[in-house]
Amino acid sequence: MEPGGTSNALSQLRRGALEYCVLALLEQKERYGFELVRSLSSVDGLVTSEGTIYPLLTRLRKEELVTTFWEESASGPPRRYYRLTDTGAEALAVFADQWARFRDAVDALLTSGGRHDHDAA
């Protein structure tokens, strides 16, 4: 257990960022569920339980940030593919912009500047 709820803060951050990671992956190309899940979980530290991505995909579909369609597969049953909608692309663009600012601000405080000033005080 990390001090001061670090673990909870990180899991909240991860949760919030994850849906935009899904949108970002879909911006490149349409993908089916399993493919999306494995792409996300191959990134270290992003996904702890693969199964929780499916409810997330359902939410994105309800919010009309993605649409789905079925396609036959050569090796098994038909697959449900996910595609980014225009709304989804807009949401992703807004997030990407805000995220960059947020990340830079936090980085600036965490690295030399903010922390050393604090230590010196």
Partner: protein, 188 residues
């Protein structure tokens, strides 16, 4: 659907998911279980080997079924109707048998429950007083007009009877509303 003999571990996992997702709407629950089932099949097909170690690995990566169900919104609807909620609704519904006291006890139980939010509690608890007050005003107006006609006898007229009935049944109305709200899926 597939010819693959399903591993008992997978069956067990899907059953746990089904149980954990029990309070989701049926359609949503079915969809979730199907998606996870398809994921397991795809993962095993991709992995080649369908031995126990492979199955365990796939299920481990998926994470606890309870966590998936929570992510899908299960368990956010507050406690499903328990003894407290049932008691509260029964007392309110039967409060005509013990006017006022019945209502107060029912109100106490409703307030103690976490199954309804503040808004729902307020509506439910305001229904009986509202009906009684409005009913009282109707009776007063009726009595006044009857008195003018000088045919007023001290017995209960049809208006008074109706008001008494309404007051008695207002607890029932309140209980019905609470019961209805319990059945609504919550969005958090």
């Amino acid at each position: 659907m597939t010819t693959m003999q399903r591993d008992p571990l997978v069956d067990d996992y899907l059953r746990r998911l089904e149980t954990a997702a029990a309070d989701l709407p049926q359609e949503r629950r079915g969809e979730l279980v199907t998606e996870i089932e398809e994921h397991i099949e795809a993962a095993l097909r991709e992995g080649g080997a369908g031995d126990e170690a492979a199955v365990r690995n796939v299920l481990e990566r998926l994470g606890p079924p309870e966590e998936i169900a929570v992510e899908a919104g299960a368990g956010t609807s507050g406690p499903v109707r328990g003894r407290l909620e049932t008691g509260a609704m029964v007392v309110l519904a039967l409060s005509f048998a013990l006017p006022f006291v019945g209502y107060l006890v029912g109100a106490g139980l409703v307030l103690a429950s976490k199954a309804w939010d503040g808004h729902e509690k307020a509506i439910a608890l305001l229904i009986p007083p509202f009906v009684v007050v409005v009913g009282g005003l109707v009776v007063l107006a009726g009595a006044a007009s009857v008195a003018e006609g000088e045919s007023f006898d001290s017995g209960l007229g049809p208006v008074e009877v109706a008001v008494l009935m309404a007051s008695a049944l207002s607890g029932l109305l309140s209980a019905a509303y609470l019961s209805h709200r319990l059945r609504q899926p919550r969005t958090v």
